[in-house]
Amino acid sequence: MQTLRSLALPLLVAAVYACIALVVTNSYYQLMLTLVLVWASFGLGWNILSGYTGLVSFGHAAFFGLGAYTTALGQLYFDLTPWLLIPAAAGVGGVAGLLVGLPTFRLRGHYFALAMLAYPLALLYVFEWLGYQELTLPIKREAPFTYMQFTDPRFYTLVALVMLLAIVAITRAVERSRFGMALLAIKQNEAAAEAAGIDTLNWKLRSIALSGAITGAVGAFYAVVLLVVTPSSVFGMLVSAQALTVSMFGGVGTVWGSLIGAAVLIPVSEILHAQLGARIPGIQGVVFGIAIVAVIIAAPEGVYWKVRDRLRRAGPAAAPTPAAPARVDLAAPSTPARAQRPDAWRTGKVLLSVKDLSISFGGLKAVQDVTFDIYEGMILGIIGPNGAGKTTLFNLLNGFLCPDAGEVLFDGRNMVGSKPHVLCQAGVGRTFQIMRPFPRMSVRDNVRVGAYVRAQSEEEARRLADDAVDRVGLSAVADKVAAELTTKELRLMELGRALAGKPRLLLLDETLAGLGHGEADEVVAVVQRLAREGVTIAIIEHTMQSMVRLVDRFLVLNHGAVLADGEPEAVTRNPQVIEAYLGKKWVAHADA
């Protein structure tokens, strides 16, 4: 339903466009109308991968070219019609996407972008070597419609328009599903996404396959329009660049971006070419380049976002919602928490058992022979001075790092070597010392990302998210975007995201860091309540005070090894612990 509603505007624009196309009889203007749609579609195909995951691809010409050659070779050698070959090209593009994605997703950032560059360049030479320097689609005078060789150029525009609308609908559907949420989460913070239970590689592969399929189909149609296919015209650098230019000009990560980009750039470039090309050859490129640079400087995120931000600021909707203080059920922080809690964990079973866990980074033994158990229902405090290996331990527990030796048994199963999202599915949730919110998403959506690991449907995900938002006391700010939150709210939101996946064990990494005294109490209250509700918690902190009344048991680390493991009272009096924290001379004071 929502997807349908979101298509209302595109449909309206398409209807207007179709009317214009029907009126234009000049075949050259009609060709421009067709090409605008082709490049907009190409930009959208690129956007599915690069716009939503943030993994910039310089190599989409690979899929485009494969699509184009599928049509050309299919018609040349098997006399197939483009009506069949365009879907076939989508298949080829999708498979190519998977084949490209599998090895290339090992890389990130600039390395990914550069590696993508290699595929079309390699294919260009392969197709030259195969002897396909110049292919033409055979002319079909008898059955022009069957072979998409319309005598009336308006048909090309209409076919392209239908194709573009289909792609817009696909994009909208993706945007609104867990697919889109997963991609956005990956874009904003891949590690957090993985920790929130998103199988990042899997979603990225789906995204590149879909992106490749769309691009392949567009390339196939491009071959039908141009009728001539050469390696450089479909695998060339400029082709890949075209996708980036139209999307970045118009705005990345939105359907409108590529549409605006193509609708402006393609005609402008052609008009410049037509008007100046024969008189001052080459000047068109200069003017075009300068114009793009100027627009990018004025609107670095693209025209669409610039205009949208303008409108938002001007509109009444921009009035900030009154920042209602987070309503938190403060569980009387003055009284010792443990007194209120039954020591049920003492009779419970072991939820997480860590045995002889070790990891070294070169010569540094970050974690060595660490052994401990977490019982169901307990709050374990992991403390230690800076650099003691606390966060490294967490990274080992939730799968970011793979230990050199040792075992991590979760509910009796050895989880060593499992990826973070697998551990998350098994019931291990975590938050980060350095907060990893998805800044452009609302609080509710941030939390919803964490819910998909449990949710079977969109509906359930929403429900789980709302429930988690409520449990951490953020209902009042649920619709704010994460970028506008205070540190405390962000901490709570991260907690909520971890909670939405209904974890059995929650790993909290310095959740109290950077909070003022009152704020810390609020967060502590939330954690206590969660524990009462039956969530097992391991919490890292390097200050002991706030922890003493929170936890059931302490694990003290120093230089990567366990220094002490026991009840809070015993641990705080342990001379080795005092020495590690305060230095030798304080041991005497403590004894006194």
Partner: protein
Amino acid sequence: MTDKTFALTRRALVGGAAMGLATAAHAQGPANVKVGLIVPLSGLYARPGAVMRMGAEMGIADVNAAGGVKALGGAKLQLVALDCGDTVEKAKNAAQRMVAQETDLVAATGSYLSSFTLAVSEVTERAGLPLLTLSYSDLLTERGFRHIFQTSATAAAQSELGLPELMKLAEAASGKRPKTVAIAMDNTGTSIATAKALKEKLFPQLGLQLVMDEVWTPPLTDATAFIQKVRSTRPDLFLFMPNAISDAKLGLEKLNEFGLGQGRIPTISFSITIAEPDMLQSVSPDVVQGIMTIVANWGVKGQEKLLADLKAKYKEPWMTQNVVSTYGDMWIVKEALEKAGKADRAAVSEALHTLDAGPAKYFPGGVLKFDDKGRRIGAGVVVVQWQNGVPATVYPNDLAVATPFWPKHA
């Protein structure tokens, strides 16, 4: 929209005015007849495109100076130049613009690179506009098109025509028939098509043994490897086929460095690249001395006045295929108009099909007559040899401006 209004205004001013006047007032002389030139005027191939434009402008000027189209009451030809850019898409766009907005064109010529000509002709064919071309890809005239006319011998034909002549030349000059041949070429479409014809057909026919076969992807970065191989295999003929000036320069300099230049190993090319004036900007005349190339057209004996005009007007040192063929195309259009008797593209296309204007003055070999496919009947080749800093036509004999020399190698 601005584009449309602009284009309309321009047409109203130029074409519209001319046409309007023509119908209204016969007394003021016949309307100009427009001929299209659709070539790369910007980008990577701007230079050859510019040279083709020179040829077209000179052709138009000479046709008009000779009284214009007599069948149309001495109507003058008028050139409409369009930039087909440096990509297939731009070429297609330019062609579409040409047929949509220059509706009164009677014929066109273009577009240098065969990929561009392919794209352009897909458009002109559907619009029924006759297109003359100097591109020599066989594919151009194998698609069953009605409105394309290829003035050059096709790629496959060129080697078949040229190589046997070279063999004769070698035999006459050195006293022995070449037996071994080496190939070094780039992997562009033209080179690959030529090499295929050579290897599959010509070498066995001529009894040549292929002793080396090297391919590079432009741009060539180092020619040492294959030149070394040339030195060790010592072929009687070395077929060196670059399509970029820089590749040609690298290969030839290395050849000289190894003491194989100046024709000590007879070196033959199959494109005009190696004989372009630009070559002399990067190498000295003695590096290219003796190099030969087999091309579809060149400045030949009897075109001295044309050459003088070219030198005077455009400061070009000699006439390449791009100048001569495009110049000749204007005369072909003129002939077709005389035959058609009206300035109409369909009539001109029909006239080109039935044209039989005797020996071709500006094209080597054959006659001004096209076969069913649109290929010029009897289209021949020219062999050009670098002699003292100028690529001079040395074959065929009746067109030659110099005598070829064949090095007697040790």
